[in-house]
Symmetry: C2
Amino acid sequence: MRNVTKDNITDVFKGYMSDDMNPRMREVMGSLVQHLHDFARETNLTHDEWRTGIQFLEGCAAIESEDRHEFVLASDVLGLSSLVDMLHSREDATSSSVLGPFHVSGAPPLEVGGDMKRHFGGPVLLAEGTIKDTDGNPIAGAELDIWQTAPNGLYASQDEEQDTFSFHGLMTVGDDGKYAFTTVKPVEYTVPSDGPVGAILDACGRHPWRPSHLHYIVKAPGYRSLVTEVFPEDDPYLDQDTVFGVRNDLVMTYHEKPASEFPEGLALSGSVNEPFLAVTFDITLAKE
Amino acid sequence: MRNVTKDNITDVFKGYMSDDMNPRMREVMGSLVQHLHDFARETNLTHDEWRTGIQFLEGCAAIESEDRHEFVLASDVLGLSSLVDMLHSREDATSSSVLGPFHVSGAPPLEVGGDMKRHFGGPVLLAEGTIKDTDGNPIAGAELDIWQTAPNGLYASQDEEQDTFSFHGLMTVGDDGKYAFTTVKPVEYTVPSDGPVGAILDACGRHPWRPSHLHYIVKAPGYRSLVTEVFPEDDPYLDQDTVFGVRNDLVMTYHEKPASEFPEGLALSGSVNEPFLAVTFDITLAKE
């Protein structure tokens, strides 16, 4: 097309796509470019603003590494990651929520009733629940991949003071579908805000805080894997999670209980001498 | 918001923006995220597709350097760069066209009538014209920053065989507004296609070719600077420029003329013994 104009360029772009390309790729690229162009037209985007956008991407590129996933973080704080989660959540299952950049594969096994708190200070949290199917029946042998922050607000991968798998565990439930473990109550924390994404948060007058949460990936053969989180209902950032991860059904009460009510049969049984917190979070998986 | 849904997340995002942020930033970010979310909803974007998008950005990041501007290239082949150009083109002035990634600041002076061809082979091209205002009056002292490919299809910055400023020149016109220089006819060439952007072109069944062109940046005090290109009307890629740079008013006839018609008063006068090409491309600048 030798007469490209601001009004026909989107159609020219679509016309460049080959008839025999993958139809889904055509659909996704066509929609992406339609929206990209509509955005530029609606805002009458200037060269300076375009340059700012390119510099944002180049700034992310400059700090991108195995330990710093700035593009994922950008997607998180713009709500895209959560939106994709929600588009593919099943209404009859527990809501999914953001994976985030801190999951580490290969966590060590953690037995049902085991402990992740170890020598760390802070209130003991007993987390338990049942992994169920959509009829409410327990899913025997379901696997929970669990991770969270240490009391200093850092994940193991961010913190040289922690072991690689500190506050990470992989639990396989028995026939009753029940999981249980002790840990220290996770804390609210800030997403990394010293890079280009932090500059965007700043420019929008936004804070970088997330409410405290436990992360789970739950898997069982024949069921859709679930990436989710559980939040305490009294968290100050519950209504303003900077990555949009909170869903109503993921907000739970963390009950404060006296040491005398700490149950038998757990790794920490007999050694808890102060009040502890307990949360029950049942998880429903949908069939594949 | 503790009940973020796929339907309200865009409004939640907008609600997170502070009342006292820069109003233009609010407008641009609001529109960007509205379109990003609408894109995801319309296509029902999957986790795998989201991951492909993140990997695309990370792949660009991995090769981004001073000599390789993959994010700019992505903007170019998606038509965004050209769209921004066209949004800010003045209808009463010569059309603007893509800057591209190969402009180098600090080109050496080139006198009116000077030569950029030097020892390089290929047909002599004489390019000339007048820099005018919108009333058709010459703009005395206008400055032309000129650059193009060598006959091998490479810009100086891509090619170790060339000097830094090979096929680059900075010309200041006299009171008559006229410019003229000799060079070798530019050739069509491919944008860098061995990276993530090339993979997108491939997946869309698109080629990486641009029609041949001369690049100009034209500046004069009191006038809007113009970034533009001139294309020969017989170029095979004129109707399918992979970066959408062609505009009707930038397509010119390159006339073939006998050596005997080569004009006097140019650096190459008297030394042209074969037929040459001549193009006249007048350039109109709008007032600021």
